[in-house]
């Protein structure tokens, strides 16, 4: 299981736009690099990140090989209600990772 880090405020005011920062350990092999024999190393990247706020999708990103290793993504969302932010990464070779954080909205 890849190590994932989420940085989001634990508490927020209702209606406030909060920044969510995510990072996951993954080498993001581009598929364009040659190995020692000159043949390209097969592509192995994370292709998608989906973020859901209490089950409703609020953010989705399609990633390509041009995203640096250990993909970092930061974005905003409006704090609407207390609950859970869940994150799911999927990628080549059946890669899948999930993480979630709780948020309290006052």
């Amino acid at each position: 299981m890849a190590r994932a880090l989420i940085n989001a405020p634990a508490k927020a005011k209702r209606g406030e736009a909060i920044e969510i920062k995510t990072m996951i350990s993954h080498m993001m092999e581009t598929g364009f690099r040659p190995d020692s024999t000159g043949r390209p190393i097969a592509r192995d990247i994370i292709t998608e990140l989906v973020c859901k706020y209490n089950g409703e999708e609020i953010f989705r990103a399609e990633l390509f090989p041009a995203i640096a290793a250990n993909p970092f993504l930061a974005f905003f969302t409006v704090a609407t209600e207390s609950g859970t932010l869940s994150f799911e990464w999927t990628g080549d070779n059946g890669f899948s990772a999930t993480e979630s954080v709780n948020i309290t909205v006052e």
């Binding site: 609020i58 953010f59 399609e62 390509f64 090989p65 640096a68 970092f72 993504l73 974005f75 905003f76």
Partner: protein, 160 residues
């Protein structure tokens, strides 16, 4: 067509010869280095997103260092002016490069719940080149911004 048959034949022959020469040149070009995106393939990738719609300049902003020492991890922020309401919001942001092996970098899908349109990530840049960001609005219009960056150490192609 008023052209006589003979002329038409000659033109066709010349066309075939020229096409063959062009194909040869393209083949040589591919042999001399790894296949990469070109300004043309970037335009094609952008068209893939916008379709026939007009691409306007403005509203979107790319924030990236102008001089990049290491192309393996370049901080990039794309933001867009929008009230982010149900009626008027940014639906998607796309980033493209001109000379990476592939023109696409990232595609982000947002909605009115984002509150603020600002997405940050770290990207790879294979060469000194142009970066283009395209935003798709809820009313169907497309807005873009482009920046030129200088890369001293390229990503992706070590050993090539």
């Amino acid at each position: 067509m008023t052209r006589a048959d003979g002329t038409s034949q000659r033109t066709r022959r010349r066309f075939l010869v020229e096409t063959a020469a062009l194909a040869g040149a393209a083949g040589l070009g591919l042999d001399s280095g790894p296949a990469g995106a070109t300004p043309a393939s970037m335009q094609a990738a952008i068209r893939n997103v916008t379709g026939e719609a007009k691409l306007n300049k403005g509203r979107v902003k790319i924030d990236v260092p102008a001089l990049i020492e290491n192309g393996n991890a370049v901080p990039l922020t794309v933001s867009c002016e929008s009230p982010m309401t149900q009626e008027d919001h940014v639906k998607a942001l796309h980033v493209f490069t001109e000379k990476n092996p592939q023109p696409n970098v990232i595609g982000v899908h947002l909605g009115p719940r984002a509150g603020r349109t600002s997405v940050s990530t770290r990207i790879r840049l294979a060469d000194t080149q142009k970066i283009v960001a395209v935003a798709q609005m809820s009313d169907g219009s497309f807005w873009s911004d482009e920046v030129e960056v200088i890369v001293t150490l390229a990503a992706c192609l070590e050993g090539a």
